[in-house]
Amino acid sequence: MTASFRLPDLGEGVHEAEILTIPVKSGQAVKEGDIILEIETDKAAVEIPSPFTGTVREILVQIGDKAVVGNVLMTFQTETESTESRHEKPPPLKQQPSFIEEQIQSPVPASPSQSPVPASPSQSPVPASPSTRRLARELGVDLHKVTPSGSGGVVTKEDVQAHAQAKERPAPPAEAAEIDRPAPTPAAAPTPASLPDFTRWGPVERVPFRSIRRATAAQMTASWALIPHVNCQDNVDITRLEAFRQKHKAELAAVHGRLTMTVFAMKAVATALKNYPRFNASLDLATQEIVIKRYFNIGIAVDSENGLVVPVIRDVDRKSIKELAIEVEETITRVRAGKHRREEMQGGTFTITNAGALGGSHFSAIINYPEVAILGLGQGRMQPAVLTDDRGRHEIVPRLIMPIVLCFDHRVVDGADAIRFLRVVIAALEDPEELLITMI
């Protein structure tokens, strides 16, 4: 029988995906579990294993297409016949010879152009419920051309939707960019004025504004528009922590871990979050409540070639620095390879972004909505600093100083809280022992 494969629901929020690769061709035999598609959603790239064993009958998408959940992506000819399908064979897609048309006796359409259904040579009516037929009319779909999935070849609403989607696929990819205009920006975003024709000043390249890039844009716009951002900056003397890091680096590398400032920062932040739970929260305007989360999942901003991705490390408070060093490293690698799973991007309560690795110094960050705060780390640089010994004598010494910034949602927390929060983090990062002692 014919079986069609639809874009599955990939979890909350995701309603569409871009086709990255199609490792199979039509006519090709596949076993259940073989990868038949690689797609990219707003959140992650996903490999899709075949649910059927049989041969690929028809591939209804091509690379670069965007498919909506429920769309039929390909159809299969499966060997095992399902019980419902005993009675009939799939209706022919070919058109009937035209002499049949002449026999049709119906009042002459006064203005055939008005006809709601695309003129199709009439043949035995396609089994479909009235509501499905109505939908077909609305989408201008000819039921005869739809691959049925219902019991005994009945065309279902989904079949019609899928067909309509497939039809929208533009023939020359060149136009694709034209048709795929930027996705819905959040309501909060201002509607942009139309752009001038840039080519008047020189050659331009138009790159599709898609998937992760677009998701980032939407997320940032929403966050910036919705949250009154405030940030407070400070410097951390990480001379001793750096020494500590150097000391233990190697042993962690041995177990494929990487001891980075981020890892320490995560621990420090976890501690601070426990002291000041309101930084580990979300604001629920609908119910007028602040949702304080009792778990501590920290997102780390990772810069991948297709853009900013924020994998979440769970239960940071319950993991040792070592465990974290390994997990973070492993996660980052997967993200960079585009192999991360969607679930990994979800459920964060706080985010850390480390510009230091790339050499960034002072900067500001945008909160990862719906979280209430984000911590930014700059690059530690040797700088002259004034030290005061226990006898009150000052001396200027070179120290490793790291700029640090906490951006927070002023609706939920105030500047004073932020300072206190930051103090905990700084204290922990300036003194590894402090870190160990206070660590919860």
């Binding site: 009675h87 009939e88 026999q103 119906s106 009042p107 002459v108 359409p109 006064a110 203005s111 055939p112 008005q114 006809s115 709601p116 259904v117 035995s124 009516p125 089994p127 479909a128 419920s129 009235p130 037929r133 109505r134 009319r137 609305e138 201008g140 005994g152 070849g153 009945v154």
Partner: protein, 474 residues
């Protein structure tokens, strides 16, 4: 208005307040259109409600009661001779009609539809002039014509109000119960009216041009009816082509030609029900782009749109079977198209019911049609004499049959004769519209003992193993 023209503008002008008209108006209003409906009658409902289906069905119910009372004597239950209080019957009939009409008016009012009493004629593709109304003209964005149809009149014959030669509407007012009644036309109108008068005591003579009743309905469905009517009607003459009818103080004489010879039947009164013709004349359609065919049917596409893109036509005036439910649907489709939706009339199981006793109902493909159009089909019939329920009711002359596509077992049509066929037809319609297989219908569990079993059984016959009939009997 004593001076000048009051021109009113609206999104949607609906001409005609019958089922097609109010179906369209209500749907249009629900889609947010500003709707004006024009009809010469003071309230909605059209001929169907005021002088057709509803008055007829009200009386047919009584006819059924009378008949059942007779039947009951066989079962050992005896009622006295029915006493017929004509004024009371009429006021009951009126009461039924008025309540429904009021209901429709309230529905219209609640929807903000302006109902204007008057006659509308197009003067252009955008304007209609009104006659007998405060408003002189209505400028519309779209118009829907739902003016219905009227009884066909034979040459040299005319209906005079209160006269002895009646059309169906006049007959249904039950002015009196003539001792003898000649009914010209063996279509469902003729049969229903004949049945009413027969039950009320008239000796009914039926004249039918064809060689059987209800041409167009499958013969096997009609046969039992023909039998029972032959008992109730004094005389049924087939192949009788009515020529004319002459009225005199004593009565009417209906002349007809039969096997080449002219013959005639006298009667106290006569009903002429030889068909209906669409009310498309006198609409000023010549001032629009709309096209009507030789028989007066306004030509429309599957969106009910005429050749004039602003003007739509629905119901009897747009041709097809002349049934209220079809008109309502067409009206709704037209309104939806006007309201910007991609509506279209694609009914696969258009049900039809003849309210005789026994009733005949069918939907979807009929055997006749299948043969004519050479559509491959298989038929199974389940006779009611094998139905327990039919037995308990003493209604064993019924028959339930299904047509399916032999290729895939999909149900294409259904026909039923027998009491309550009207209700049974619903299931068949559902099955056809949903693209169900005979197997589906057979697998659906039908309560025992009910008449609905007959449908399950007929379906089961396709699978080779019905319960109350042996496979051989196929």
């Amino acid at each position: 208005m004593v001076m000048g023209d009051m021109e009113m503008s609206t999104d949607l002008l609906v001409i005609g307040g019958g089922p097609g008209g109010y179906g369209a108006a209500f749907r249009g209003a629900d889609l947010g259109l500003d709707v004006i409906l024009v009809d010469p009658l003071p309230s909605l409902g059209g001929l169907c409600l005021h002088a057709g289906c509803i008055p007829a069905k009200t009386m047919l119910h009584l006819a059924e009661l009378i008949h059942d009372a007779e039947q009951a004597t066989k079962m050992g239950l005896r009622f006295g001779e029915p006493h017929i209080d004509l004024p009371a019957l009429r006021s009951w009939q009126r009461q039924v009609v008025d309540t429904m009409a009021e209901g429709l008016m309230t529905l219209a009012k609640k929807r903000g539809i302006l109902c204007i009493r008057g006659k509308a004629r197009f003067i252009s593709s955008t304007t209609a002039r009104l006659e007998g109304a405060e408003i002189s003209a209505i400028r519309f964005k779209h118009a829907i014509i739902a003016t219905g149809s009227r009884p066909l009149v034979l040459p040299h014959m005319y209906f005079t109000p209160g006269g002895r030669i009646m059309d169906s509407a006049a007959a249904l007012t039950l002015a009196d119960i003539p001792k003898t009644l000649v009914v010209a036309g063996g279509g469902y109108v003729g049969l229903e009216i004949g049945s009413i008068y027969a039950a009320l005591g008239s000796r009914v003579t039926l004249l039918e041009q064809e060689d059987r009743l209800l041409k167009g309905v499958d013969a096997d469905l009609v046969a039992p009816l023909q039998e029972s009517l032959s008992k109730r009607f004094a005389e049924i003459l087939f192949g009788a082509e009515v020529l004319d009818a002459a009225e005199d103080p004593e009565g009417v004489t209906v002349r007809f030609s039969r096997n080449g010879e002219t013959d005639q039947r006298p009667g106290e009164k006569a009903v002429i029900a030889v068909g209906r013709t669409p009310n498309s004349d006198d609409l000023g359609l010549d001032r629009t782009k709309a096209v009507i065919d030789s028989s007066g049917i306004i030509q429309v596409d599957e969106q009910q749109r005429t050749a004039d893109e602003r003007i739509f036509a629905v119901g009897d005036v747009a041709g097809g079977v002349m049934l209220a439910h079809k008109a309502i649907r067409e009206g709704r489709v037209a309104a939806e198209v006007i309201g910007g939706k991609k509506g279209g009339f694609d009914v696969r199981a258009l049900p039809a019911v003849v309210y005789t006793d026994p009733q005949i109902a069918w939907c979807g493909l009929t055997e006749k049609q299948a043969q004519m159009e050479g559509i491959s089909h298989a038929v199974r019939k389940f006779p009611w004499k094998l139905s327990g329920r039919a037995r308990t009711l003493g209604l064993t002359d019924g028959l339930t049959k299904l047509l399916v596509d032999p290729e895939n077992g999909r149900i294409l049509g259904a026909g039923i004769i027998g009491r309550h066929a009207e209700g049974l037809m619903g299931e068949a319609a559902l099955a056809i519209e949903m693209g169900a297989l005979a197997e589906d219908l057979a697998l659906i569990l039908h309560p025992y003992p009910t008449l609905s079993e007959t449908e399950g059984e007929a379906a089961a016959m396709f699978l080779g193993s019905p319960t109350h009939i042996t496979p051989e009997e196929r």
